[in-house]
Symmetry: C2
Subunit: 321 residues, 2 copies
């Protein structure tokens, strides 16, 4: 059975919404996965009691230290070994769980996964991947902000990671890979993007060429690759668009309205998936409520169950440790 | 009186929608501006007859050559001296008109403006600025794709251009300038962005710091600066949002729905404004219909009337020629 460690104290609405999300996930687990809540044991147990949950599927590991949202990642790794965030990744390193989820300090979660789990030998840096709003079928995009100033080859690594993910999780054979650019022509874009384009053409991937901002929403590609800077801007813009839409129009109770909310509400996306690690890590949104947490846990389970991490290793080289 | 030259043969719907846009603009001119349609004279005149327009406010200059959307800009400048695109910019150089508009080959229009009008001495490259959808007040963003691989100082130049525009056109004193980044902290982002951040702090501009993708829509800043690559991705994404929204929900006939269309329909934005030139140039959307053309002409008139180009020169150094 897959075990998913969950940082009970990470995020704006911790611990109440995190614990509630764990309970929601546990109720849907059908015995397929087990959740390990990492946080101050008494506090976490009292939250579970408040929710009236004494069922199976959840255990608690004591992790009394707290991580602030603005603490430096290195500081957290050095001084907060007994925080829910670090403990949840540590349990994975020890083989006691198969995936780790935190809605807390995202830089610290990234650093913990990178330093504790390690990366694959041939991957320079892991990327954050995201299931994108798309009305034509599933689509994964990366990097959403783990990296800056990437070398062209890093974008090819991202494309491999995304392809493995799309095959394993969406069941798409030979997924179409697009590269975000400012035009369709090969010669468009920054030097790095132009060079990445050439590398992608000879990568063996199903590279369909450049895609533009509007194609992101149009189902042109199954995997969309972009530098972390651009990806992060896109991610925040998509959030802003959805917020604006909800502010202007609220819930539109038609099939299109319900589908729109399903696609665009970040809580349904399962969080930011760290691909390229020697393990499975998910950075949930800092504002995650119980629904977002539930979906992040289920996504973590699916990633571990489908052995996405191992499949990326097979594709790109063996783990570094 | 301000005269605006308009390339009658540029864009997917030329000449019919271009000429119709000119007629719409002329009918609203109240004697403030005059339109010079540049294109094959007989064809343009027959379009005017078709529309039953024999009023004042429009004249025609014969420009028989045609520019294809995919012709290389340098090729156009060399071989298509008698195209509507090149002629409309040439008339400005001769002082016969004060602004030029084309919905045609945007690279060629950019090159024509740059080579024929010239740039200001201290500006390395002009930028494309765009009025952004914003429900809290006007907002201009640049660069939307004229440049790639900018040096940090170029982003400061963009910020000055945008500030002058916001003061002159929006009437905002000391406009707030934001820099697109992947987080609020100074140390976030690419090397270029981090350096630009420091330069902007000491630029004398009303620099409010980094803004994120979601802030673009939230009225956080009056002027938003970003490299051309990111700006172009944002521009296309915003177009994609709007198209998707119209596809899903159509016209929503409420005050919020009407305001949404007013803000998000690119046809209301007046086109891409070339800032940093020794003159006034507008690149209208290739898909422009009559409404979009009308608004581009009116925007060109406003830019010329408010002497935005001259004010940018005063701020940043004298014209190069």
């Amino acid at each position: 059975m897959i075990k998913v460690a969950l940082d009970a104290m990470g995020g704006d609405h911790a611990p109440s919404q995190i614990v509630e999300g764990a309970v929601l996930a546990a109720k849907e687990s059908a015995g397929l996965y087990h959740i390990v809540l990492c946080g101050p044991e008494e506090l976490v147990r009292s939250e579970l009691s408040r929710l009236g949950y004494d069922g199976d599927g959840i255990s608690v590991v004591d992790a009394p230290e707290l991580v602030a949202m603005d603490e430096s990642p290195m500081q957290v790794l050095k001084t907060k070994q007994n925080s829910g965030l670090v403990v949840s990744v540590g349990l994975q390193k020890k083989g006691l769980v198969q995936a780790s989820v935190s809605a807390g300090n995202s830089g610290a979660m990234m650093a913990a996964c990178l330093m504790i789990l390690g990366r694959f030998g041939n991957i320079a840096r892991p990327a954050i991947a995201l299931n994108m709003p798309n009305h034509k079928g599933p689509c994964v995009m990366l990097d959403m902000g783990a990296n800056v100033d990437e070398k062209p080859q890093m974008l090819v690594d991202f494309a491999h990671c995304g392809s493995v993910y799309a095959e394993a999780i969406y069941g798409i054979e030979n997924p179409r890979v697009g590269l975000i650019n400012m035009g369709e022509e090969e010669k468009k874009g920054t030097e790095v993007i132009q060079e990445a384009h050439q590398l992608l053409k000879s990568s063996g991937l199903n590279f369909i060429g450049n895609v533009e901002g509007r194609d992101v929403l149009a189902g042109m590609a199954d995997v969309i690759v972009t530098p972390g800077f651009t990806g992060n801007v896109i991610l925040k813009l998509i959030e802003g668009f959805y917020e604006l839409h909800q502010h202007l129009f609220g819930h539109i109770d038609t099939p299109a309205g319900r589908e729109f909310e399903k696609q665009w509400d970040y809580r349904n996306h399962g969080g930011g998936l760290l691909l390229g690690l020697n393990g499975t890590g998910i950075i949930a949104h800092g504002r995650s409520d119980a629904l977002a947490v539930k979906n992040a846990v289920i996504t973590a389970y699916k990633l571990a169950e489908a052995k996405v991490s191992e499949k990326i290793a097979l594709r790109l080289g063996s783990p570094s440790k």
